[in-house]
């Protein structure tokens, strides 16, 4: 197996210090940071894991509702999401609803912050999220998951891994439901209001199969999601009847072959999404993607990673009629030069073409220096890169208003970072700056029509700080992790007025902080997770009167394993928001106060 296919361990424990490592299909590129997100809570959705472990701000439109990402001060369309290396952002909206990705169906997740246009193509501006890969070794195990909690929460899931001779696979299935009838104090009144119309029901199924022979591997993975969610209304409108139904089919077929000093992987993905809002006609989208990646060692110092990606994107709906499938073709090459054990550098280059939407040449250059000490190490890295994003199908073809002549959004970024390991302390700091232009905004036009235009310029700067440490305490180890994110995402265009120039973009918090702790006491494990999200403005005016208040949350969990013969039963009791704070993630959409959850995971 190619050394660059180092993978995350599947049995990683909570609070393991964040590591920089290759991850499945993430090509190792010097100058970049890859963080593994441990989906330690198999009964959560991916948005919760991304926030609780990386402090990435997720826009939740209510409890267990639509959840989109704001990575490094960008909006949801500026994060590329790759499943087995296939881009899976919806072709219509250009973004991913992370609440649809349930941890029960996922093996591994990693993030790569920053501008990765040369490596991953369109949309990798704020960062890239990687979901799953085919480099896992399965065992013969099975698990049953049960969950009960506040507001009518219940979960039932089953999973099995199997391996025999040259075959292996995994099957997962789950059902999750919640009434979401929590109560909250209604602002400006002495009323305690019960949330209405926020129930959610979801089903998911995953089937992965792999066959190995000689130096080759054939893999297939199929994901089916179904969600029926009532659309949680704003607090002043507590009697809505809106709902959203989504059906998603994602499938991927991959052939991998080890060749002399390298490997070739060929991946074919087919994605079919359908969304129905209330009684309106369904909006359907389809994507077929073929990508091939060739990795090759040239001597002891050079590593080459090159390939292509072809995508066909199509959508159909009452406002998306007669759209010809959009064709995208990318060629990419990533060359890594290891000067010695301490110095390495990477040059990335991607040429991307979209029929009728232009083409982009995207270079990136990264370098890394290591210092090894007797009890630790220091790694510094730096990178400069360009990024871009193609307009979505809605941007180009929505009727009325779609603008087929939109250009791709453009960006350029630079960052520098340091990672220090010293005994049981592990810390990282990254400083970054991004300049973006031609960002697409929908603007009102004459005749009551809105039309997207390449109008916005944005300057983003920030610091990310991660600290992981372990204390020995009475023969146990207290593990702790701190993640701090500071970010300024500044409007540099005079739209919609000169007064808006220089102001923070809406729904980008200046500051998020995570502090997670785990304390094992014999077999019992206590987890204490704190998070802080600063004020978020809701308009470009940067006025406190048009802002969502900051909030602090404290969650506590206790885990206890019962081991009986070969059966391990993990019992977890969780209390979330234990200060019972009223808070909003999106303006005037209530989030629940204190709530409890009991989880039982039986592993066979």
């Amino acid at each position: 197996m190619c050394p660059f296919f180092l993978k995350a361990q599947s049995d990683t424990v909570l609070m393991r210090p964040i590591e920089i490592m290759g991850f499945g299909l993430v090509p190792y590129a010097t100058g970049d940071v890859v963080r593994v997100i441990h989906t330690v809570d198999p009964l959560k959705t991916l948005d919760a894991a991304l926030f609780s472990q990386a402090g990435i701000y997720m826009k939740n439109y209510g409890h267990q509702q639509l959840s989109t990402i704001s990575f490094r001060g960008t909006s949801a369309v500026h994060t590329n999401v790759l499943w087995h290396g296939i881009p899976v952002n919806a072709p219509t909206l250009g973004s991913t609803d992370f609440s649809q990705w349930h941890a029960w169906l996922i093996d591994d997740v990693a993030i790569q912050p920053g501008n990765q246009g040369a490596l991953y193509g369109s949309g990798s501006i704020g960062g890239t999220v990687f979901i799953d890969h085919f480099n896992k070794i399965r065992t013969n195990t099975a698990a049953i998951g049960l969950g009960l909690g506040s507001f009518g929460y219940n979960f039932q899931g089953g999973s099995a891994e199997y391996k025999k001779d040259q075959l292996q696979g995994t099957t997962h299935i789950y059902r999750e439901a919640i009434n979401n009838d929590f109560t909250y104090p209604l602002k400006g009144t002495d009323l305690i209001q019960t949330q209405q119309n926020a129930a959610a029901l979801s089903y998911g199924f995953r089937q992965e199969l792999q066959h190995f022979w000689n130096n080759q591997r054939l893999s297939v993975d199929l994901l089916l999601f179904y969600q029926h969610r009532e659309s949680q209304p704003v607090i002043s409108q507590n009697y809505a009847q809106d709902f959203i139904k989504t059906h998603n089919i994602k499938s991927v077929l991959e052939h991998f072959i080890d060749v002399n000093k390298g490997s070739i992987s060929t991946t074919l993905g087919w994605i079919n999404d359908q969304m129905i809002y209330n009684q309106n006609p369904a909006i359907r989208s389809q994507q077929i993607t073929l990508t091939q990646r060739y990795e090759y060692d040239i001597g002891h110092h050079f590593h080459l990673n090159s390939g292509f990606l072809i995508s066909l994107l199509a959508a159909k709906g009452s406002n998306l009629e007669n759209i010809n499938p959009q064709k995208q073709l990318d060629f990419f090459m990533i060359a890594t030069y290891r000067i010695n054990d301490r110095w390495s550098s990477t040059l990335g280059l991607r040429e991307s073409f979209m029929i009728d939407a232009g083409s982009k040449l995207l270079p990136s250059l990264g370098a890394e220096r290591k210092w090894i000490f007797p009890k630790g190490s220091l790694v510094s890295h730096a990178k400069i890169a360009k990024g871009f994003r193609y307009p979505t199908l809605n941007d180009r073809f929505w009727l009325p208003g779609g603008n087929p002549s939109l250009k791709p959004e453009q960006s350029a970024s630079t960052e520098i970072g340091f990672k220090v390991r010293y005994r049981k302390l592990n810390t990282q700091v990254n400083v970054y700056q991004t300049w973006a232009q031609d960002w697409i905004l929908w603007l009102p036009q004459s005749g009551n029509i809105w039309r997207p235009e390449n109008i916005q310029k944005v300057a983003i700067s920030g610091i990310e700080y991660v600290l992981g440490y372990q204390y020995s305490l009475n023969q146990t180890e207290l593990e702790s992790q701190v993640v701090l994110n500071f970010q300024r995402s500044i409007n540099k265009s005079a739209y919609p007025s000169q007064a808006a120039y220089g102001n923070q973009l809406p729904y980008v918090p200046y500051f998020t902080a995570i502090w997670s702790n785990k304390w094992p006491i014999k077999k019992l494990s206590i987890a204490l997770d704190q998070s802080y999200t600063s004020r978020r403005y809701t308009t470009l005016d940067q006025l406190d009167t048009y802002a969502v208040d900051p909030y602090f949350l404290l969650d506590v969990a206790a885990d206890y394993p019962l081991i009986l013969s070969k059966v391990t039963t993990q019992i977890s009791l969780k209390a979330n928001n234990i200060f019972n704070s009223y808070y909003e993630n999106i303006q005037n959409r209530a989030m629940p106060g204190i709530n409890f959850q009991l989880q039982i995971i039986i592993k066979l």
Partner: protein
């Protein structure tokens, strides 16, 4: 010895504990204490009376629950968000469509919140919430009864709800066409423009029955009774099959016998808002950032003003002194602006108001 070791190793726990407190103390507690909020509001309420000036209805961003009311007093001082400021920060709602003033009582119709907030117009104090309405749009009154147009939904027929103005009870609902929009009362008849159709429904206010449905232009919206008692209907225009603009907006004139006596093709689609000058001889409407004027009896309209620095006009009104007030939504990216022009189209003032200003209620001195 054991004691000492334990104390030393407990240090991280103390750090954790105090840091937790630090985190908490750094957080502004967003939890609402209604009693305190009310008390603070009482002491800080120096907004005074809203008995003379201009109410600006700010629609707010769709699904953001940030609609509001602004007030521009006779000195030109703007007070924003006066509903929340006078009601302990209670959000007004999602898509504030219009406000109707009946004596000193204001009815604020909040479209996507499916409610009407009834407030004391002088102090903006909440009196009552009417919640058995569905996508309410506009309101008029005659005697002790209010008439409310409601879209109901995008697939059901619109309706008119009849409101007892003293008890705030909905007494009856009468189905009309799809997208029940603007309302006008003339000669004991209620005229309803059905915005999703090409029709106008006419209801007899005595029998409360629909007595006539008249075909007008595409997407009828605002209506005004001119100095001749003729009714003018602004029709926004529609779309072609491929969703391009049909550019078939029109002005339709209905005489006192409810006969269509004039139709003026505008050659463009227009926004469905309209205002008239003080003596009801000139109509104003707009498209994009250009306002057009139409003199009653003319064959065509003229450009009244064009504001190239504006983003998108979203509401229009004429003050008792004849000045023309125009709201600019700023594309809902930031707070809106109100531009004031004299009767000749000369720019006079600009005010920053709430998000998405879509209409005005003028209270004369």
């Amino acid at each position: 010895m054991i004691q000492a070791k334990y104390s030393f190793n407990s240090l991280p726990l103390y750090v954790l504990f105090f840091a937790t407190l630090f985190f908490v103390s750094c957080t502004e507690d967003p939890e609402v204490d209604p009693e305190n909020a009310s008390a603070d509001d009482t002491t800080e309420n120096t907004l005074g009376s809203f008995s003379s000036g201009i109410f600006v209805i700010n629609e707010g961003n769709f699904l953001s629950d940030d609609g509001s009311i602004s007030f521009i007093d006779s000195e030109g001082v703007v007070q924003n968000d006066i509903f929340s400021e006078n009601n302990a920060l209670l959000p007004l709602g999602d898509v504030v469509q219009s406000m109707y003033l009946w004596d000193t009582t204001a009815f604020i119709l909040v479209n996507n919140s499916n409610k009407i907030e009834v407030v004391d117009g002088d102090e903006m104090k909440l009196l009552h919430t009417i919640s058995d309405v569905s996508l309410p749009r506009y309101m008029v009154s005659e005697g002790d009864y209010g008439y409310i147009s409601e879209w109901v939904s995008f697939i059901d027929r619109g309706r008119i709800s009849i409101l007892d103005l003293n008890t705030y009870e909905i007494l009856d609902t009468i189905n009309v066409g799809f997208g029940a929009e603007a309302l006008v009362i003339r000669d004991n008849k209620l005229y309803v423009s059905n915005n999703f159709e090409k029709t106008l429904s006419i209801m007899d206010l005595t029998t409360r029955e629909i007595i006539q449905t008249i075909t007008v232009g595409t997407s009828p919206a605002a209506m005004i009774i001119d100095q001749n008692r003729d009714l003018w209907i602004l029709c926004s225009g529609g779309y072609n099959a491929d969703f391009t603009l049909a550019n078939n907006g029109s002005l339709v004139r209905l005489d006192s016998n409810d006969e269509v006596i004039q139709e003026i093709a505008l050659g463009m689609n227009v926004t469905g808002k309209m205002a008239a000058n003080v003596d009801l001889s000139t109509l104003y409407f707009y498209n994009g950032t250009t306002v057009y004027s139409y003199g009653i009896g003319d064959e065509s309209c003229d450009t009244f003003i064009e504001n190239t620095s504006a983003i998108a006009f979203y509401g229009i009104g004429v003050a008792p002194d004849g000045d023309v007030y125009i709201g600019d939504s700023k594309g809902f990216q930031s707070l809106g602006s109100v531009y004031v022009y004299d009767q000749m189209g000369g720019a006079k003032e600009e005010f920053q108001v709430g998000r998405g200003p879509n209409g005005f209620v003028f209270i004369p001195d």
